[in-house]
């Protein structure tokens, strides 16, 4: 089983398609919706697929064939190590424990695989060391 995160962008015409339902029924994937937005330009859906590697691959192909722009997301957050003072303010803000304190060095570790791009850490960082990576 693998977990991969994707950003799906689709035009207003296909915004009505029950994409997540098909992902579950046809490809046997577990889906965690991280963010969903829709406006006059269409929809943006950030989600995590959990399933076998081949099923995820097939699902991505299906989405692309349906006219959805699919981009795999590997890194949401960039922590500027020179700016970070390792205070740890981000730790109690993060809902998924993507930030953890190394109790030997007292330095803050960022675990990318746990990050769901909620962005709550960004405006909580006093020295301004955390930025959302531009995903386009």
């Amino acid at each position: 089983m693998t977990v991969k995160k994707f950003l799906l962008t689709f035009s207003p015409e296909i915004a009505g398609e029950p994409i997540t339902y098909r992902m579950v029924r046809d490809f046997d994937l577990m889906i965690n919706i991280l963010r969903a937005e829709i406006d006059e330009h269409g929809g943006r859906l950030m989600l995590a697929f959990e399933g076998s590697g081949s099923q995820i691959q097939k699902a991505v192909r299906y989405l692309e064939d349906s006219g959805v722009n699919v981009k795999e997301l590997k890194e949401f957050i960039r922590k500027d190590e020179a700016r970070c003072t390792n205070c740890g303010m981000c730790i109690s803000i993060c809902p998924t424990a993507a930030y953890q304190m190394d109790r030997k060095t007292w330095k803050v570790m960022f675990l990318n695989e746990k990050c769901i791009a909620c962005g709550m850490c960004i405006d909580s960082c006093p020295p301004g060391a955390i930025r959302l990576r531009t995903q386009d």
């Binding site: 205070c87 740890g88 730790i91 109690s92 007292w106 330095k107 909580s124």
Partner: protein, 388 residues
């Protein structure tokens, strides 16, 4: 076992002094006991690196041709106080930029100066016979100014409350972002490394004490504002915010490694100051206090949803508890965050230890001790008659 400042400084000069950080000495005391540890160790270094809003710097810009008596002064668009002589100003850490950009303020100007970045100086004046010039717009840096020294009226708080939020909305405070329904708790003291917690009655810290300030050698100038001595005490350690220090040091000798501008959303700007104080191990009592551990130091948990100067503590927690990453509040496990950096506090204590061990930093005996009794008064609305 007794030791004098002179004896300690002689050893430092010879390179023979045994110096340890407040963290390292804990293990030595646990292993060897107070008596033996006191004999072994000459100096214990402390350190903290946290947001200290009551900070700022005096700058003398030098005189222009023709000269100006600066009235309004802006440094990178941040107002500085110029109600002093012609070209003296004080840039306060929390002063926001004039254009309302809440993410840049006096603390950033100070960090820019320390990092040798050019800073725009704009000043205006009504002009006088002796100072005819009415405006100036130029760039300065630490290289171009006469004096630039940090003078912080309140630093190094001896202990501080833990902040949490019982309300239904997120609170944006100087203690950081506080999530609703006790969603998190933030704390600020460096605990077992924090200078004033390791000499709680300030036997060895007073006016004139040489300290590590932002990477430079600075001094204790005075009691800090809101200095108070009447907080409840457990094992000799105050259980809530207590003593403070006013400190002074040369900006030109500081490093951005130990001075960092901070911005708190919907609150404003503050300055993280790296401050360390060496404790001369004069006798066993000094050593005993210097080796107190996080599990012997407690802080009150305060609900910042209560918008009052008097908040009743929800409970008391030890710094050892806070450092586990979670504490219990009303039966709920609440995640904790430190606002001060323990890694940096260690770095301060280590840097100070190195400077002492190499003979660069000698200890000073206080010229005057700070008050043994001081009560902090509130501000109430009074008539003229009542305050007379």
């Amino acid at each position: 076992m007794r030791r004098t400042y002179e004896e300690i400084n002689e050893k430092i000069k010879k390179g023979d002094a045994v110096v340890m950080t407040a963290e390292e000495v804990i293990d030595v005391v646990e292993r060897d006991g107070i008596e033996k540890a006191t004999k072994e160790v000459d100096v214990v270094t402390t350190g903290t690196f946290g947001a200290m809003c009551s900070s700022g710097a005096f700058i003398n810009f030098g005189h222009s041709e023709p000269p100006i008596r600066m009235g309004k002064v802006l440094l990178n668009e941040v107002p500085a106080y110029a109600g002093l002589a012609a070209v003296d100003a004080y840039i306060g850490a929390t002063e926001p930029r004039q254009d309302g950009n809440a993410e840049y303020g006096g603390a950033h100007v100070i960090e820019d100066l320390i990092s040798n970045r050019p800073v725009r100086l704009q000043a205006t004046s009504s002009g006088t016979d002796c100072y005819p010039r009415k405006e100036i717009d130029t760039y300065i840096s630490l290289k171009t100014v006469n004096q630039a020294y940090m003078f912080n009226p309140r630093n190094a708080y001896q202990n501080y409350g833990v902040a949490t939020n019982s309300s239904e909305r997120t609170l944006f405070t100087y203690m950081g972002k506080l999530l609703p329904h006790y969603g998190n708790a933030t704390f600020s003291s460096a605990g077992q490394l924090s200078p004033l917690l390791k000499d709680p009655k300030m036997r060895t810290i007073g006016i004139g004490t040489r300290i590590f300030l932002g990477g430079a050698q600075g001094y204790v100038a005075w009691e800090g504002t809101q200095f108070k001595t009447n907080a409840a005490v457990k094992d000799g350690v105050p259980l809530s915010a207590s003593r403070t220090l006013a400190v002074i040091g040369d900006l030109k000798q500081m490093s951005s490694e130990f001075i960092r501008a901070l911005s708190f959303k919907n609150y404003g700007v503050s300055l993280a100051v790296g401050l360390g104080i060496p404790l001369p191990i004069l006798d066993e009592d000094v050593m005993k206090a210097a080796s107190v551990k996080d599990d012997q130091i407690f802080a009150p948990v305060l609900d910042y949803a209560v918008q009052s100067r008097t908040r009743k503590p929800i409970r008391e927690v030890s710094y050892a508890d806070l450092r586990t990453g979670q504490i219990e509040i009303n039966g709920k496990n609440v995640k904790t965050s430190s606002l001060s950096s323990y890694a940096k506090a260690r770095q301060v204590a280590e840097a100070l230890k190195k400077q002492i061990a190499s003979g660069e930093f000698l200890l000073t005996q206080a010229v005057v001790r700070l008050p043994e009794e001081r009560v902090q008064v509130p501000l109430d609305i009074h008539s003229q008659e009542e305050v007379r």
